[in-house]
């Protein structure tokens, strides 16, 4: 089976204009099946783009893309609870739930997707959610291939989709505290949206100078870009239905084009590697999580045979 390509939600605080430009280009040029919209990380950012979601969705649908609107990963405050409740109600869009608060508000029979923040690690959790209307699950980014294989088999039995993040920084942690505001001596309530200054996250290097992590508001990400291009044939064999590309400050149309050629078998991993070499990237690639190794690692093709 040939897996589809998706563009995951933008995790960073990009301006409304930057997002509109990005999605216009995705709509016209990116060979992807599905685009996820909506703010997942910080409820304070929501008002800046929520008003544009409808028009953006329409633009993407005109480009032949399926649109899914995502809910927040962390839900605690009144406004976050309200946003989650509103999302869950019957509406015009397919939705992705990332917090149990959203599950609580789903009306019976409302179809929905489950996002990577909801910790679906095993078949039992997946079955529980599918019984309650989930049609599609994106597994956590740290899930190793052996477990993904078992999940894909169960997803096929249940008749639901199974998605794996194949490109972009790994979301490693979320917090109640905003680390972006903290870095600049502010608090979350008085952040002045300093996160907008870092379209690809704020670097955290070790005290010995190694690039290690990135801060994105309340989220902590890997410095490296997860890139599972060489693993696409294996995922197709397992029955993974969708491959997620997370937007980074890179040419995402070019990235999507390489993955499209891979998934259809037009090119192999060696050619894909050569094409990635030609796309400007500000971070190294990693694939350790998939191979059950430290996430930052990049397991090369030669040793991959042995892994």
């Amino acid at each position: 089976m040939t897996p589809r390509l998706t563009i995951g939600p933008i995790h960073y605080f990009w301006s409304a204009e930057k997002k509109q430009d990005f999605y216009a280009r995705i709509a016209d040029e990116a060979p992807v099946d599905t685009v996820y919209l909506g703010e997942v990380i910080c409820s304070k950012r929501q008002p800046f783009f929520d008003q544009h979601i409808e028009a953006t969705a329409e633009r993407l649908e005109r480009g032949g893309k399926r649109v899914v609107v995502c809910g927040l990963a962390e839900v605690m405050l009144k406004r976050e609870r309200n946003a989650e409740r509103d999302l869950a109600q019957d509406g015009p869009f397919e939705i992705e739930i990332n917090n149990a608060a959203g599950l609580f508000h789903l009306p019976a029979g409302r179809a929905h997707r489950i996002g990577p923040f909801l910790n679906v690690y095993n078949e039992q959790t997946m079955s529980h959610l599918a019984d309650r209307g989930a049609t599609h699950v994106t597994v956590p980014v740290e899930m190793p291939s052996a477990s993904v294989e078992a999940m894909a088999a169960r997803a096929a039995e249940l008749g639901i989709g199974l998605e794996v993040q194949v490109f972009g920084r790994a979301g490693l942690a979320t917090s109640a505290r905003c680390y972006h505001a903290r870095a600049y001596g502010r608090t979350k309530d008085n952040c002045q949206f300093v996160c907008e200054e870092h379209a690809d996250g704020l670097p955290l290097d070790t005290r010995n100078g190694e690039a290690f992590l990135r801060v994105n508001g309340i989220q902590t990400q890997s410095h490296s870009y997860v890139n599972l291009f060489a693993e696409v044939p294996e995922m197709a064999r397992m029955g993974v239905t969708d491959l997620r590309l997370l937007p980074q400050e890179a040419d995402m149309v070019a990235v999507a084009t390489v993955f499209d050629s891979l998934r259809t078998g037009t090119i192999g991993p060696d050619e894909a590697q050569a094409r990635f070499d030609g796309i400007e990237m500000t971070a190294p690639f990693s694939n350790g999580f998939w191979h059950g190794e430290a996430g930052h690692r990049r397991i090369q093709a030669a040793s991959r045979e042995l892994a």
Binding site: M76, Y121, N208, H296
Partner: protein, 332 residues
């Protein structure tokens, strides 16, 4: 005002007996494997040890809560299923769970044993908590350490289950159950393996200038001056550099411990049913001191006396302490 049940940690059978003798109402512990979030070398219980521990606790009127609070990766579910079966057979008083699949399995297979929702499930809103109550019959939620007392009071009004909050020990701000930092550096997962900064991948390296680097896997988590004492390298307690702090700073949190002893009466008034003391990795000397001090404090409050809080303050002597999120939202 609630009863203020004291829920105390035990990393070993000796610690459990110590906690019972010091006045713990409940003790939480786990097996020697990935089924709990403190899967550390030399810690935790065999099934024989747990059986004896349950007997010891029950004879003295204390309860034993078994932590099954990690997330089984697909293909490994049997380990959690078997642990639940053993726990039920040995007569534990509740299971502390985080994973929906584990909760669903226990609700169906061991309906007579209470389910507590672990802090690892990160249920921080009444809506999320009510989902677990509705779907799995959860009887108690352990709240994340990120809520103020007024927020807890509001949550209590909306949920049909008991509330447990942390009152003492490690102060963490990362959303529990959502952290893959250790796995990124080491290949061992906090959620799937119950491991945080595994000791076998921790290294202290002396640099030529006499300073010391603490490392986890290949990453330097912190570097210390020759006269500075070096902390254990957990990623969220390390110091890092960027444009705003070229010399390095605590990007996530200062090393600090939580102590809510002053707030106990207010928490009991807000409807907190149980107080959790963190530290299954701590020694039984710690358990003895902390449990005894909080036992006396809770008893004093319930009898209408002013608790002797000085003893509790002394327990964190030499270390910075905080009332964390519970007093103010400014830290966010």
């Amino acid at each position: 005002m609630t009863a203020g049940e004291l829920v105390c940690p035990a990393g070993t059978p000796a610690s459990l007996r110590t906690a019972v003798d010091a006045g713990a109402d409940s003790i939480y512990c786990g097996f020697q494997n990935a089924t709990n979030a403190r899967n550390f070398p030399g810690l935790n219980f065999t099934s024989q040890e747990l059986g004896k521990a349950v007997q010891y606790a029950h004879e003295r009127g204390s309860r034993v809560l078994l932590a099954l609070n990690t997330y089984p990766a697909a293909g490994n579910f049997d380990l959690w299923r078997d642990a639940a079966g053993l726990g039920a057979q040995l007569g534990v008083d509740a299971f502390i769970v985080a994973d929906m699949g584990v909760a669903a399995y226990i609700a169906e297979s061991h309906p007579d044993v209470r389910l507590h929702l672990s802090v690892q499930a990160a249920a921080a809103s009444p809506d999320a908590i009510r989902y677990y109550v509705r779907e799995f019959g959860v009887k108690r939620v352990v709240l994340p350490r990120i809520l103020t007392i007024p927020e807890i009071r509001e949550i209590k009004k909306e949920i049909p289950c008991e509330i447990e909050t942390f009152i003492f020990g490690n102060h963490g701000l990362m959303v529990e159950g959502r952290c893959s930092l250790t796995n990124y550096a080491t290949g061992l997962s906090t959620n799937m393996d119950g491991v945080c900064s595994p000791a076998h991948l921790v290294e202290y390296r002396r640099d030529p200038d006499g300073s010391m680097s603490s490392r986890l896997g290949p990453f330097t988590i912190d570097r210390f001056d020759p006269q500075e004492s070096a902390g254990y390298p957990t990623i969220c307690k390390g110091r890092y550099c960027n444009e705003a702090h070229p010399e390095g700073y605590y990007a996530f949190e200062e090393p600090i411990s939580l102590n809510l002893s002053r707030l106990l009466p207010e928490l009991m008034d807000a409807g907190v049913n149980a107080f959790k003391i963190e530290g299954r990795q701590r020694s039984r000397a710690y358990v003895k001191k902390v449990v005894a001090a909080f036992r006396a404090a809770v008893d004093d409050i319930r009898a209408g006396r002013a608790p002797a809080l000085a003893d509790l303050a002394a327990l964190t002597e030499g270390q910075k302490q905080t009332e964390g999120a519970f007093q103010t939202k400014k830290w966010r």
